[in-house]
């Protein structure tokens, strides 16, 4: 038997290493099902990586060119399936910008209230999933419970939990229900309670903080150059929020703050979302006060809005108008506009080109996620393998929107 304490040259002890190629995803829970990252690892740190998206590409922009403008709404629902109402409103605003119309005040407050509820659902999902991916399952369940309440409320309002298709050019599909205000207030209050509990559970937790603080740091210059917007950019300390910088709807008339981080790490991104949830609650409460109980929701423009059913069945004008809008689609003037709103993940832009017919010539969605995910390579190169999960989670990549 050989003696254990052999005299060894230290150089011989050093094991020979070679880079290891590791493929993560696309069918990997931490990759949210739709992203593949090919990494070259040296030990546990990532030397190089290639982020590949597109596994959820469904040809959204191509499909939009086949129907009418109104038929785009179901597609935008499926772009960001965590906050579909924001996409609905964003697209409606783009069409209205090209038409040059503005919806009645009641509709604007209604859109804002629904939109902020959708933003809450987005941030709850992202922060909850982030905690879950680090092993904290309880806050995830609590936050998803909160999201569930929002979805119940949405179902009450729109008839669908997730894919509402509720926006219309020139208004909404239905006016708010009678108990919308009471429900929204109850949901908001409950979510604020949930946030308190989540904060108590997570923000004093050493493990949680250690996994997030100073991990996935992005500099301001990088974030701006990468086209980051939304919570990810604000976590770097840039207070750019479309709602504040270029107010649309009634955002100029409500009070809210824009939370910013200062390090640009995963923890700041987490906290910016938590703070935005509270700001959303603030906005919702102001919207509910200002939302009128009666009054028109849709513009009184027969070119864009379907006539009431009684008129369709009782008058020839109503029938013709209904037929024209349904069969030919409402007509947007020829030209192009870029309309932008603050989506769940940042600036959600719609660049629409119309040739004056009832069919979109080109609908380009500017997906905030796509640009944020484009920066993932920069975020995780040089990081540890285990830090990929929280970093990626904090970017809140939504597959449907990123890949369209």
């Amino acid at each position: 038997m050989e003696p254990i304490d052999q005299e060894l040259d230290p150089a011989e002890i050093e094991l020979p290493t070679e880079p290891m190629l590791l493929n993560v995803g696309p069918a990997h829970p931490a990759m949210h099902g739709t992203v593949r990252i090919v990494m070259e690892l040296s030990g546990e740190s990532i030397e190089r990586c290639d982020v590949q998206v597109g596994y959820l590409h469904r040809g959204f922009e191509k499909m939009c060119e086949r129907g009418t403008w109104t038929q785009v709404f179901p597609y935008v629902d499926r772009c960001n399936y965590v906050s579909p109402m924001l996409n609905n409103v964003g697209f409606a605003l783009a069409c209205e910008k090209l038409l040059g119309i503005e919806v009645p005040e009641r509709c604007q407050w209604y859109r804002m209230a629904l939109g902020e509820l959708a933003r809450m659902s987005d941030h709850l999902t992202c922060d909850g999933a982030m905690a879950m991916e680090l092993g904290a399952f309880t806050p995830f369940l609590w936050m998803i419970k909160g999201r569930e309440m929002i979805w119940d409320l949405m179902e009450e309002e729109t008839g669908a939990r997730l894919t509402h298709s509720f926006g219309r050019v020139g208004g909404m599909a239905h006016p708010p229900t009678d108990h919308f205000k009471a429900n929204a207030e109850a949901v908001t209050a409950h979510i604020l309670e949930i946030l308190d509990e989540v904060e108590k559970l997570l923000l004093g937790n050493r493990i949680f903080l250690d996994r997030l603080e100073n991990v996935g740091v992005v500099s301001v210059e990088d974030a701006v150059s990468l086209g980051w917007t939304g919570p990810c950019l604000r976590a770097c300390g840039v207070p750019y929020d479309v709602r504040k910088a270029h107010p649309y709807l009634k955002y100029g008339e409500v009070e809210f703050d824009v939370p910013v981080g200062h390090r640009g790490d995963s923890f700041d991104r987490f906290m910016v979302r938590i703070d935005e949830l509270k700001q959303s609650a603030r906005i919702i409460r102001q919207c509910l006060v200002r939302l009128a109980d009666s009054g028109p929701v849709n513009v009184a423009d027969p070119r864009v809005i379907l006539p009431p059913k009684e008129e369709v069945y009782s008058s020839i004008e109503g029938t013709i108008q209904h037929f024209k809008i349904v069969m030919e689609g409402l007509k947007l003037p020829a030209g192009e506009v870029y309309s932008y709103t603050e989506g769940g993940n940042g600036e959600l832009g719609f660049y629409i080109v119309s040739d004056g017919s009832g069919t979109p010539y080109r609908v380009r969605i500017r997906p905030p996620c796509f640009y944020v995910t484009g920066g993932l390579e920069r975020v995780i190169t040089g990081a540890m393998m285990a830090d990929v999960v929280p970093s990626f989670g904090s970017l809140n990549m939504i597959g449907g929107e990123c890949d369209r």
Binding site: G54, E347, G374
Partner: protein
Amino acid sequence: MAKALVELIKQKFPADVLETHSQRGDETIVVYAPRWKDIARFLRDEPRADMTMLVDLTAVDFPDRSPRFEVVAHFYSLSKGHRLRVKARVGDSQGEGVEIETLTDIWASANWAERECWDMFGIRFSGHPDLRRILTYPEFEGHPLRKDYPAERIQPLVPYREVPDIHKVPPFGKDEGMAFGRQTHARGPNTDDDDVN
């Protein structure tokens, strides 16, 4: 605000601004395609423009026009708060050899945006460090957002990729896997495992 910016560019590049318009308040300039990058760089470096962000870059296909494609970029200045849309027209009616300079060395966001533009429209960005398809896969034929790409076109099935030094095994052996559902459609009448059902 942005109006003054358009005037500024017109002064700086008098021969290269082909058209301007501001439909619904969106300031737009159409520039001479070979000067695309110079104008973009000017927009970023000029303090009065200070376009810190390339918000979006895409294209629109007009098959009846010549040049056929419009490359559309939206710029935003975080400090000034103004926006500008810059377009350049490229490509002949066949859509072959459509090429424009890349903006990747000015804004990092151009990287993926241009890859998508190449993937969807077949517009080549010269100087791009990594011009691969991004939303579709390498074997994809054609460029789906071109108007002459039929929406119902079906792409051929892709065989296993040949990658050197990687030993691959098929997901299921002949007598493995499920005998129902999606697997059954490929099975001919004379295969050995007829008796599974």
